[in-house]
Amino acid sequence: MSEAAQAQTFEPQTFRVTRADLVRYAGASGDFNPIHWSERIATGVGLPGVIAHGMFTMALVGRAVTAWAGAPDAVVEFSVRFSRPVPVPDTDEGTEVVVTAAVKDVAADGNTRLSLTATCRGEKVLSLAQAVIRKR
């Protein structure tokens, strides 16, 4: 890996997540699982409360990746493991997801593999999160 690639830094991206965001994402994605909007059902299955759709968290990480890549069509590969739920309290503030990245490697074709982290209240909510972005 070149020194330039290793030295590349990525400004952490912070995303606010409220209950209204989850309702809107449910509608747009078609994922109406009630653990993402009903406190009663979420706590009934042992969750701390309503949690964000894993795919909503992944979408926010995707926003960070495309922003860092500088192009909406630069993502070649994108993968995550959902390791911990993102509880979203019923408040105006909701919660926050913070996304960071580091260069893992640069392939011979110039594609860059990023190692990604997403945290909520200081705890990692994803593991094995990676994205490959195309050389511009």
């Binding site: 995303f15 965001d21 995707g62 926003r63 495309t66 069509d73 995550v80 493991r81």
Partner: protein, 150 residues
């Protein structure tokens, strides 16, 4: 009850084409708070070489989650969806999804494993145009949590 191992390697017939709408991409982009012009404005997308607005990277779940029901709702598989959580998700793209695409999904079961009382099901979805042009591949790992011991 463990998942039916005979599902490993099985694939399903291609789904009916999903027609990707410009307004659906816009709705999805707004729902995730993305404001990139190429997701919203056809002119901006044309300027970077696409026929219409391009979709954000995770947009394909809009249709792949729906089509994977042909696997997970098969009673023979034995998946209890009330105990299922999303484990892993992966996308590999040949190109972004673009408004106007008519996309066909071919679903298969790549892996079924069991560990620590939990069952793991990995589905793979090949997404192509009706003409057979590869667009992306999607992998989803679902975790069926073990039943509570009383």
């Amino acid at each position: 009850m463990p998942l039916d191992q005979s599902f490993i390697g099985r694939s399903w017939p291609p789904t009916e084409p999903y027609l990707v709408g410009r307004e659906k991409i816009r709705e999805f982009a707004r729902a995730i708070g993305a404001t990139d012009a190429e997701y919203l404005d056809p002119e901006a997308a044309r300027a970077i070489g696409y026929a219409d607005v391009v979709a954000p990277p995770t947009f394909p779940v809009v249709f792949t989650m729906a089509t994977s029901r042909q696997i997970i709702e098969d009673p023979v598989l034995g998946l209890d969806y009330s105990r299922v959580v999303h484990g892993d998700q992966k996308f590999a793209y040949s190109r972004p999804v673009v408004a106007g695409d008519a996309l066909v999904c071919v679903n298969s079961v790549e892996e079924i494993t069991s560990r620590g009382g939990h069952d793991f099901l990995t589905t793979r979805t090949e997404v192509t145009t009706e003409a057979g042009e590869p667009v992306l591949t999607v992998w989803s790992k679902l975790v069926q949590r073990g039943e509570e011991q009383s």
